[in-house]
Amino acid sequence: MSGRVIVITSGKGGVGKTTTNANIGTALARAGKKVVMIDTDLGLRNLDLLLGLENRIVYTIVDVVEERCKLKQALVKDKKNPNLCLLAAAQTRDKTAVTEEQLKNICEELQKDFDFILVDCPAGIEQGFQNAVAGASEAIVVTTPEMSAVRDADRIIGLLEAKEEIKSYKLLLNRVRPNLIKSNDMMSVEDVVEILSADLIGIIPEDTGIITSTNKGDPIVNDETSLAGKAYNNVARRIIGEDVPFLNLEEDRGVIAKVKKFFSGLIGKEK
């Protein structure tokens, strides 16, 4: 087995990388895939909280590279899903505690046992980003329809394009607010896709359910009734290779037609 290593990155902080990681990881595991998530945000670890695993962490990625434990020992199993594991970041160390080479080696080793290795990237474009990207061959660039987030995503895309190891990258647009788009107060999905000229892998609506699910340590994909959960599930299915149409986040009839038309055009373009 040689698993796919996907880095989830954004440039800007707080746009939903970690949320995306937890949800896509959980959704892929629910679909029967063996998944491991690596939190590379050293010093600012969060992925454990979103998964409700914070009390189960014994070893971290730093313990692995400093050989205080075996890689397998450091993998924390998810409470609900035995297919899902987490390699936690160290909370007390900084970004220099792990090198690009070490992360690459960890990813290579995990590829033997897992279908998917999802790497949660810290914000910024410095060493933390370089480390997170080091072992990956695919990337998901998370952004929101806000100017600063789109600008940072553009920077990240430029950096990813310069990396030979990254074979493909996709755009995930988070915190989309159909009402604001409808009133022309927010950039539309179409606008962002055109500006960044990148393939879209998902559109996630702004959803207060994400806050409550974070509080509970239970990713929103586990809630079958949630729209954001459904959207994340669809992202996971697209990653696996299914052709899933984009959700209609919009209620207004007239706009639905337009949105549909746009989405079907996009799907047509997808490889």
Binding site: R151, M186, M187
Partner: protein, 158 residues
């Protein structure tokens, strides 16, 4: 009752606001982003762009008389390709003699006397010997003064 009026007011006001404003928040964001991303992607800062604009004006003024304030230099996106668009509102093309005269003038104006010339535009006009077609005088005048201004700046920086 109050609500109905409030609602009506909002509707009417909203209508006028919409009619007045051509650009909404979303369009503003898209347009600003486009410009800023072009600059990010090329490393061309607004300062450099302004410098380029100034130099282009200087160069082009030699051949055409134009509305300098309306000259536009912008990045535009065409699909995946970006283009640097220069729009020059031409008032009049200059003829060969004029262009040659300017060349001579330029070489002769590279002396300290020129400072005087810039201080007073009236003087500048007097000192222009080959000014014959008077209907174009004022515009051409401005142009030449600006030109020598740039010359002056250049001399300072040297």
């Amino acid at each position: 009752m109050k609500d109905i009026f409030q609602d009506l007011f909002n509707k009417v006001f909203g209508f006028f606001r919409q009619a007045e404003k051509e650009e909404n928040a979303k369009d503003t964001a898209v347009n600003r982003l486009r410009v800023v991303l072009m600059q990010d992607r090329t490393n061309l800062t607004p300062e450099l762009l302004e410098k380029m604009r100034g130099e282009l004006i200087e160069l082009l003024s030699k051949y055409v008389e134009m509305d300098k304030d309306a000259l536009e230099l912008n990045f535009e996106q065409e699909g995946n390709q970006m283009a640097l668009m220069l729009s020059i509102p031409v008032l009049r093309a200059k003829d060969e003699d004029e262009i040659e005269d300017q060349d001579d003038e330029k070489t002769s104006s590279e002396n300290p006397e020129e400072e005087e010339q810039n201080d007073n535009s009236e003087d500048a006009q007097d000192q222009e010997p080959e000014k014959e077609n008077s209907d174009e005088t004022s515009e051409e005048e401005e142009q030449k003064i600006e030109e020598s201004n740039t010359n002056q700046k250049e001399q300072k920086s040297k």
